[in-house]
Amino acid sequence: MFQNRAEALALALPAAIFAAAVFLVPVVILLSDGFRNPAGGWTISAYIDFFSSPLNQAVFLRTLKLGALVTVVSAVIGYAAAFAIVNLEPGMKGKVTGLVVLPLMISPVARTYAWIVILGRTGIVNQAFQALGISDVPLRILFSETAIFIGLLQLFLPLMIISLISALENMPKDAVPAARVLGANWFQVFWKVILPLTKEGLVVGGTLVFTGCLTAYITPAILGGSKVLMLETLMYQQVSVSNNFVAASVIAFILIVMSFAANILLKRVATARNKQRRAAA
């Protein structure tokens, strides 16, 4: 630990000033716009306006719903996948983990684009449905909540799996066998042993996935089209179509509050666990 304050500040300030100037200050001004009235005073009327529109309510609830749904489903699939992966032999484990991580390196545009080919009117799914006689007219899967859900799930599932893999690997090796010996069935083992011991990883993964869903733009834009909006796409429309910067500011604030809420939740749970550990030590 060096003690020279001037040196420390000289090293740290350029980055801090840059981030503040390019990011913090403009974002704060943008956010404050939503709380301004034309006379220059403070008001929350923009928020009342925003939430009194049924369309906006629907978009807000859809964003929450899809975010929560994708988080829950990715947790369920994530546990199964992570459990399967940690039980592989080491060499295989690395390769499979690599395959799970691989999509993160691919542009979200490309990853979302693929779903057009799969879910579109002449896509694979419709071809299959028609061939199997499930339906004679092509189903409209694209530009729906279902399509967005699938796209988001595919986009963020890797983050959940990775978080759970590291949580499962940090779990005491003999916890599960010990519970089995004591007569717990697999459901009890999961609920009473695995879940509490991997809670931290679940929260990390959950926050990453939920925040990811909130801030994803491409997936709702491409798979939801211009009718099925989420907050991000609604914000883009408000700016580029309606030139309504106040509404954009309101949406921005809601998005930030939602991400921060998720983030704080993460830290809460993590520190609660640390306290427990310290108390135990």
Binding site: A15, A84, I85, P103, V109, A114, Y217, Y236
Partner: protein
């Protein structure tokens, strides 16, 4: 029970990986189609769409722009981020938590907001060019990654080797370049790659920051596929993915990339 388990693992893995990778493989297959429209299974085999990618003028321009942003932005973020990480990990810095929060905040705030705020309150009032704005936005976006990865490798390096170097006659700055830099090179390269991939694939930040002839690669792809429904975007996606995967794979091979991120 054991039969169920022995089937469970491969089945789960197969389904999950098919879900994660399958769509991308379909895109790759579609890019070799001989047909006029995007479809799977591909109609025939040809390299025409791969070839076409290289002839589309706007693709070339936006690729150049994205390359510039990814490389330039990452370098700028490192130039800012390395000293900041160093200060955070080696000094008793007054307000260290504030500095850490400020430099890592761009990762928490949705990119679309960063882009819009920059447009409204920097680009317009100060009349700066879109390219410069994009450059600043991407730098700010990569900064949190740079600080996180470089900090992690600094934390893994004992700080007393710098004091040892000083006692052997080196200046403080000299000690940094002689004994710190060589030991965090892997971390810096990893930060570079992470920043490059993040920037290159980034969409929301750049959404509002496009002007005549100035577009990033992903934005250009979205614009293109709204108009034309041929497999050239699939071909381009495949090529770009190949580039990203290639870079990351090489990094993992030679640096043990995943140790740092």
């Amino acid at each position: 029970m054991t039969v169920a388990r022995s089937l469970f693992i491969p089945l789960v893995l197969f389904l999950v990986i098919a879900f994660l990778i399958g769509p991308f493989l379909i895109i790759v297959a579609a890019s070799f189609s001989a047909g006029e429209t995007l479809a799977f299974p591909p109609q025939g085999f040809s390299l025409r769409w791969i070839a076409k990618v290289f002839t589309v003028e706007s693709f070339r321009a936006s690729f150049g722009m994205s390359m510039f942003l990814a490389i330039g932005g990452t370098l700028a973020a490192l130039v800012l981020g390395i000293p900041a990480s160093y200060a955070l990990s080696r000094y008793k810095l007054p307000g260290a938590e504030i500095v850490r929060t400020i430099v890592s905040a761009p990762i928490i705030v949705p990119g679309i907001i960063v882009g819009l705020a920059l447009l409204r309150y920097i680009v317009v009032p100060f009349q700066i060019g879109i390219t410069l704005a994009l450059f600043m936005a991407h730098t700010a976006l990569i900064l949190p990654y740079a600080v996180r990865v470089v900090s992690a490798s600094l934390e893994n390096l004992r700080s007393d080797i710098e004091e040892a170097a000083v006692l052997l006659g080196s200046s403080r700055l000299g000690a940094f370049f002689r004994v710190v830099m060589p030991n965090i090179r892997g971390g810096i390269l990893s930060a570079f790659i992470l920043g490059f991939v993040t920037s290159f694939n980034q969409v929301p930040v750049s959404l509002f920051l496009s002007g005549p002839g100035v577009r990033t690669m992903p934005i250009d792809m979205i614009a293109y596929m709204e108009i034309v429904f041929d497999p050239s975007v699939a071909a381009l996606s495949s090529l770009l993915a190949l580039m990203s995967i290639g870079i990351v794979f090489a990094a993992e091979r030679f640096l043990g990339f995943s140790r740092y991120v």
